[in-house]
């Protein structure tokens, strides 16, 4: 089923879609483009190709409560977190790379036992609307990882621009339900050709056989050169659509409190600190290696696919321009870069 809506009518669509539960879509916040629930007056931006921060927080919020606890005298009691009824979510305007990333997160959180319940519940309740890319950003290199910028498998609705019309094609029952919700705001359309697949930046990455080569090069001195510029912040991991590590912390007071999980970053030196103080990833070298090997070796070994989707967010956001392309070039080629 294909429908469309004029660009100038989109505000009505947002209002309608948001009436049934949060509608996440790319909103301009200062210089950043972020996936946020739509609100009256939100500066929705469907032009810019990739959001500053990936939309992963729709499914993996920056923090969420696991349980509550209280203590009286010597007695400690645990209580479930206050449950609020799960509602429908719509995530609108994800790009093909983002959709691929959601698939990767699914592999981690809900394709295999044990299923991560909070993630699965959100995923189950979310309608995903993919938006085909027009002209890619210079940072984009998704095609290197086999992502099609104009066609996102896994989306409930695939959308693309046709001049000033936003064309939408429902791919699933959930997608059709969205059409129902939108009602008369969406006009019936005959089939419209999807846009042509644009060219993204070609970094000529040697992805063939990369995991194997990296495995052999775990101790290569090139890691000792690569990591040096890393300043140890978590920007790359937090903007990344596939990074999904979290920490568990408590909030409250020793009489009462809650236990929650929140985003964490393997780039932080505290990430691997153990109770006794020992830190197996002592320096930035081990941490930088871990991050790239996780994307390019461990994940492929475990799930058969790279955990990089070529969205280019780390290329844009790293304050010192140390990114995944750099890593692949330095250590992934037929031979290791000697400097």
């Amino acid at each position: 089923m294909i429908k469309s809506i004029k660009k100038e009518h989109l505000a009505h669509l947002w209002e309608r879609l948001a009436s049934n539960g949060p509608l996440y879509l790319p909103v301009k916040e200062g210089p950043a483009l972020l996936f946020k629930p739509w609100r009256e007056g939100a500066a929705v931006d469907l032009e810019t190709v990739s959001s500053t921060v990936s939309p992963k927080e729709v499914f993996l919020p920056r923090d969420e409560v696991y349980m509550q606890f209280s203590r009286a005298g010597q007695k400690l009691e645990l209580h479930p977190a206050v449950q609020e009824p799960a509602g429908r979510l719509i995530a609108f305007g994800l790009r093909s790379c983002d959709l691929r990333a959601v698939e990767l997160l699914d592999m981690v959180f809900c394709r295999k036992e044990p299923v991560d319940e909070p993630y699965a519940a959100r995923r189950e309740n979310t309608t995903l609307v993919a938006l085909a890319c027009g002209e890619p950003d210079p940072f984009c290199f998704c095609t290197a990882f086999g992502v099609d910028p104009v066609n996102a498998p896994g989306a409930d609705v695939q959308a693309w621009w046709n001049r000033d019309d936003l064309v939408l094609e429902a791919e699933t029952a959930r997608g059709e339900a969205l059409f129902t919700l939108a009602g008369e705001l969406l006009a019936e359309r005959n089939a419209v050709d999807r846009p042509e697949r644009p060219a993204t930046t070609d970094f000529s990455l040697p992805l063939e056989g990369l995991p194997k080569r990296l495995k052999e090069r775990f101790d290569d001195p090139a890691w000792g050169r690569l990591y040096r510029s890393c300043i140890g912040c978590g920007a790359c991991t937090y903007v990344c659509p596939t990074c999904h590590c979290f920490d568990v912390q408590d909030f409250g007071h020793h009489a009462r409190g809650q236990r929650f999980r929140c985003w964490d970053s393997c780039m932080y030196k505290e990430f691997t600190v153990m109770a006794g103080g020992h830190n197996p990833r002592l320096t930035r070298k081990e941490r930088v290696r871990q991050r790239f090997l996780h994307k390019l070796q461990y994940f492929p070994e475990n799930y058969g696919v790279y955990a990089c989707v070529g969205c280019g967010r780390c290329l844009r956001s790293c304050p010192v321009n140390l990114d995944v392309v750099q890593a692949i070039r330095a250590l992934g080629g037929e031979t290791v870069e000697q400097r």
């Binding site: 203590r71 009286a72 005298g73 010597q74 007071h253 020793h254 002592l282």
Partner: protein, 659 residues
């Protein structure tokens, strides 16, 4: 979770009258960690304390919380009780349910709710309490007295008599101080020298007293019981071991300069003793004026000195010594009234300060004991004394009363009448203050027997009028303008702190008030202690005072010092700062803000990728630390923490209060 016991005191009805004890105890039962609660009518009583001790034993309590009066009142009592039951005394926390709650609130519901909040905070802090041990510190059995005036001499004698060695540091070439400059003392009219000189000699000859004249304290480090002091002994250019005090040198010396002792009214030589009764009777060469030191020639004194004691090459010596206690008795100055232009001081030779005038009565003084006008050498007929020059002067920011002026003016008026029977004295005053034994009688004698005219009012202006001085003032009782043709005007200039008092205070490590007089620790209950343990103050460096008060305070300070020196060991502060070296990045901001110099840098070794690296971290000397915690805030990473008031503890208190 440690096992916590909570004990609530009724304090009779003081707490229980406003706070619902039962509700508080009920609520406290559910505080985290609490395994035992109890309340009692008077928890500080022996029975009350036993209640705590028994519970500690029976309930195996690891932390104790009491809800009582202010910790400033009974914290030590309960610490002792806890310790007697075998717990570390610092495993006790006090919630102030009386001064901060039941006494300041009337509504029982409100007071009860607040009592619970305060108690909850105390309990939250208590579970994070750790046992602390106060360092035990050695006491160096020697005292230092800074200042060799009457207060310093008295303090030194008292300490020495108690059996402890004392060093007296005096910056002038002789001890004696201001009192040595006086002719007579009120209200008895004793000759000052007659009562002071024997004390000076006694101090000089006392086997336990070591006089370091012509010396200054350069640095005080350390802490109570162990002050490390650097003293500069300035070079006299005289070998004191050879000098016999014969005086040939200063007879022969060709260079004259103004005598400080005579307030510049007379000359002394470049090699000199400040006054004839000087102790020690060893001259000093004033290098600024000595021809040899200035121009490299002369050396007459060297040639003439019978025992060959002149020693030009002598250098300053730095003496480094440890003391257990310090008495500061650095005295006072008299205000230079030159800025009070209305009194024509400095513009006419017959306008004098009272201290200058005092020297006129002294047989060895600038006039040989004659009271005459400096302008023409004639005895004065009319002398006007002006009180409160620079004292009680709000407009000029000098609010205080200099205390001694009323009395010394009465004394000088009496002495004047005795020396120059035909002279008439006029005293312009704001109030006459004569609090002191025999003081009122003395002042009345001046007015009634010696005919001194007391005029209540202020002098507007003194102007030179030919060879006399016209004093214009207002009699505030009659409201009339008064004009007096005076031959001399004597200004009762304010007693002020020494010009360098603030600087001296900084070196010693004690603070001063807005007028730079040193601060006592408590205006009533700790009049000779300072905020720095082990340092005491005596005499006019604390505030203007007369001789009997100075002497009394000196003896008081001496007793405090002796009490300290008599101790085998001193108990240090238990709640001191502590550095977590793993987090310390060695910026040493903590060192910069520490008021006690308790923090210093140490180098530590660390292993990094198999190599040894050294780095700097901060270290606290627990003996020096007084536990203010300023360092903990300068430390951004929280790597320096204050035991007993840790970051975690204060946060826990905040959380508990906000629950």
């Amino acid at each position: 979770m440690p096992r916590v016991g909570v004990f609530i005191c009724w304090c009779g009805t003081n707490i229980a009258g406003t706070v619902d004890i039962e509700t508080v105890v009920e609520t406290a039962r559910n505080f985290p960690g609490v395994v035992h609660t109890a309340d009692y009518r008077y928890l500080c009583s022996e029975i009350g304390q036993d209640l705590i001790k028994e519970a500690i034993k029976n309930e195996k309590l690891e932390q104790v919380v009491v809800g009582t009066c202010s910790p400033r009142m009974h914290e030590s009592t309960f610490r002792k009780a806890v310790a007697e039951a075998g717990l570390n005394p610092f495993l006790l926390e006090v919630a102030n349910l009386r001064e901060h709650c039941s006494w300041v609130h009337q509504d029982k519901t409100e007071a009860t709710a607040k009592a619970i909040a305060l108690l909850r905070a105390a309990a939250a802090k208590a579970v994070l309490n750790a046992p602390l041990i106060a360092p035990r510190l050695d006491v160096e059995k020697r005292a230092l007295v800074i200042g060799g005036g009457i207060a310093g001499i008295q303090a030194a004698l008292d300490i020495a008599e108690a059996g402890y060695p004392v060093d007296v540091v005096e910056r002038e070439p002789s001890i004696g101080g201001r009192m040595a400059q006086l002719e007579k003392t009120f209200p008895t009219l004793d000759c000052a020298a007659c009562i002071l000189t024997p004390k000076m000699v006694e101090a000089a000859q006392h086997p336990q007293i070591n006089l370091l004249t012509y010396s200054e304290v350069e640095e005080v480090k350390g802490f109570v019981g162990q002050f490390d002091v650097k003293i500069r002994q300035k070079a006299r250019a005289i070998d004191a071991t050879k000098c016999t005090g014969c005086g040939v040198c200063y007879e022969k010396c060709p260079t004259k300069t103004e005598s400080e002792f005579e307030m510049g009214l007379a000359k002394r030589k470049a090699i000199y003793v400040p006054f004839p009764q000087a102790v020690p009777n060893v001259p000093v060469i004033d290098r600024d004026n000595c021809l040899y030191f200035r121009k490299g020639r002369c050396r007459i004194c060297e040639k003439e000195c019978p025992p060959q004691a002149v020693y030009f090459e002598q250098q300053d010596q730095i003496l480094e010594r440890r003391y257990g206690a310090i008495v500061v008795a650095t005295g006072f100055d008299q205000l230079n009234p030159v800025e009070y232009g209305e009194y024509a001081y400095g513009q006419h030779p017959d306008v004098l300060t009272s201290l200058e005038f005092e020297r006129f009565f002294n047989a060895a003084g600038p006039t040989g004991g004659k009271v005459v006008r400096l302008s023409d050498g004639k005895p004065p007929r009319n002398v006007v004394f002006i009180q409160c020059v620079g004292s009680r002067d709000k407009a000029r920011g000098m609010n205080y009363c200099s205390k001694i002026c009323c009395m010394f003016t009465a004394k000088q008026a009496i002495l004047l009448k005795e020396k120059v029977p035909e002279a008439r004295s006029y005293v312009f005053y704001i109030d006459v203050r004569t609090a002191g034994k025999g003081y009122e009688e003395f002042q009345r004698r001046a007015a009634e027997q010696y005919g001194v005219a007391y005029l209540r009012g202020q002098v507007g202006k003194v102007f030179p009028d030919g060879d006399r001085l016209t004093v214009k003032g207002v009699d505030s009782l009659s409201g009339k303008t008064i004009e007096i043709q005076a031959d001399m005007v004597v200004l009762a200039a304010a007693s002020v702190a020494r010009g360098d008092a603030a600087q001296v205070g900084r070196v010693i490590g004690i603070n001063s008030d807005q007028y730079h007089f040193f601060n006592e620790a408590h205006p009533k209950l700790k009049p000779v202690e300072t905020h720095t343990a082990g340092i005491f103050i005596a005499g006019a460096c604390q505030a203007p005072k007369d001789i009997p008060d100075s002497v009394a305070q000196a003896s008081a300070a001496a007793v405090k010092a002796v009490g300290l020196l008599a101790k085998e060991k001193l108990q240090g502060e238990a709640c001191t700062a502590r550095v977590d070296q793993s987090g310390c990045s060695g910026c040493l901001y903590c060192e910069a803000v520490c008021p006690y110099g308790a923090i210093s840098a140490v180098q530590i070794e660390e292993h990094f990728r198999g190599e040894k690296l050294t780095r700097i971290v901060a270290e606290v000397n627990a003996a020096l630390c007084q536990g203010c915690g300023s360092c903990t805030v300068a430390c951004r990473s929280g790597s320096i923490n204050l035991q007993g008031y840790t970051n975690a503890q204060i946060l826990a208190e905040v959380d508990a209060i906000c629950l």
